[in-house]
Amino acid sequence: MEWLFLVPAMVILLTLVLFPVLSSILFSFNRVELRPGAVALSPIGLDNYQHALFEDGTFWKAAGNTAFFVAGVVIFETLIGLGLALVVSQHARLRRYLTSLLLIPLVMPPVVISLAWLTLYDFRGGVINWALRSLGLSPVQWLSAPNLAMQSVVIADIWHLSPFVFLILLAGLQALPIEPFEAADIDGATPWQKFRDVTLPLLSPVLLVVLLLRTIDGARVFDKIYVMTGGGPGTSSISMIMHIYRQAFRVLDFGYASAMSVLMLMVLILLAVIYVRLVLGRQSL
């Protein structure tokens, strides 16, 4: 009887997740052609994988960009989120107001956030270049200079998701036991010593989970890139998902796009397994 409770979720997982994932793996070993009303598969062995790893320069460009994006957002979002959480956890009133304010970017549509930054970055009429000009500096091509486009997207993402890291770390800080801090006070520890030797070790499980979550989410960045740069100029800000999206839905090479998806899945599954074990390991089932 209790098995029946699982049926709807199982049906969804099987039809909308397991079946598509297996199909992706199948597609990746084939040339996939969309004919009217049907799909035609012709097996080509490992050609798609070989093309990705050894022939397609854009694949490695996208992989590098994605790694750059992940490194940038994870480092800065963690620093900003942790710093804010540490300060705010000491002040009850601050906590209430800043938590409400910083909730807003998290629930805003990412597309709208990208648009907001698009207006701020605008070369001619954007506020950022206006500020630079008023300071006597020369304006910057934030989104159309090949060496800057990716950084600009990283900044927008930091604005969007530092609050996420902040909220999780704040909740983590609040849940810490108070006794170790009292002991450190009695021993006359300086604030820095308290942070380094008490807060950081106690907070490290939560910190690790946040780092993993942001790494996995960052690796899948798509909407911000799509709206703000379209992957350009050229391929200078193309991300892995952006490249796969283009190969699938612009070039219509579904086999090749599936092969890249599967490669990416293999990397992400490693991280996901570490993450899930961390989160589930601490609970009694």
Partner: protein
Amino acid sequence: MMGTERPIAVTAATPRPNVGATQLQAFTPVQGLRRLGGKALGYALVVVVVAIWFFPIYWIGNMSLKNDLELGAVPPTFVPQQPSLDSYYRLLFVLGFDRYFWNSVTVAAGSTVIGLFAGSLCAYSLSRYRFPWALNYWLLFLILAVRMFPPTVTLIPLFVFFRDLNLLDTVIAVILAQVYFDLPFIVWMMRGFFADIPIDLEQAALVDGDTKFGAFRRVAVPLAAPGLLATAILMVIYSWNEFTFALVLTETKATTLPVATAGLVHEFGIAWGPMTASGVLFTLPVLIFALLVQRNLIRGLTAGGVKG
């Protein structure tokens, strides 16, 4: 296990046991100065944080109220000089965004209802029954891991199959894709809310001759109603905001707001006015929902982060 709220309440509400020690420190002049400096630093921080996170939001609103002439002005004006609703008018009556709005509403409602039905049944049984072969653990494992997959790994086959089934560019396709995306969050959140409910009441219902499903429907669901509402609202927000699946699975008829709004960037160069107006109209419902259930929402947003 979803008890992260409780320790917060305890530390915030009860006085620290070592009040004496804290006060003693506060009386020394160095500590006093440091506290004052700390306070000033705190206020400075608030000002900076508020400015940085408020400004881009303000700016969309500001741009949406300008007329075309003012939108192109260099330097940009910080307050609309001649406020006009022209962009909103164009958005709704010329570009036909009301259609996309209703598509988004349909997708959000449909996916939330289906997702909540499947997800809360699954979460309930995982928190109440022990299945063989450690299925509780592995199912939860799978559900959480699925959330981490690259979207294209499911999206490409779904596109192909929906095409074969003639479902491309229908809200049904977007709803189904959204359900898969929502399910992990729902199971994870609802499992915690069900675990918070004492099991005795359901047992009483079972003793009185109710079926297991009856106990779920008549006892557990009403008791978990606040959690159910918070989960529902979070899912509405997620599906309202979702971009990637809707972009791929729709073309013109079933286009949702995020896709239509993003389309304004490429179709006309950049149509700043309608684009920012759409940004405002598109964000408002989400903000209202978010402020309604703020507390439980934070619990949901941080789900999977600090549960232990």
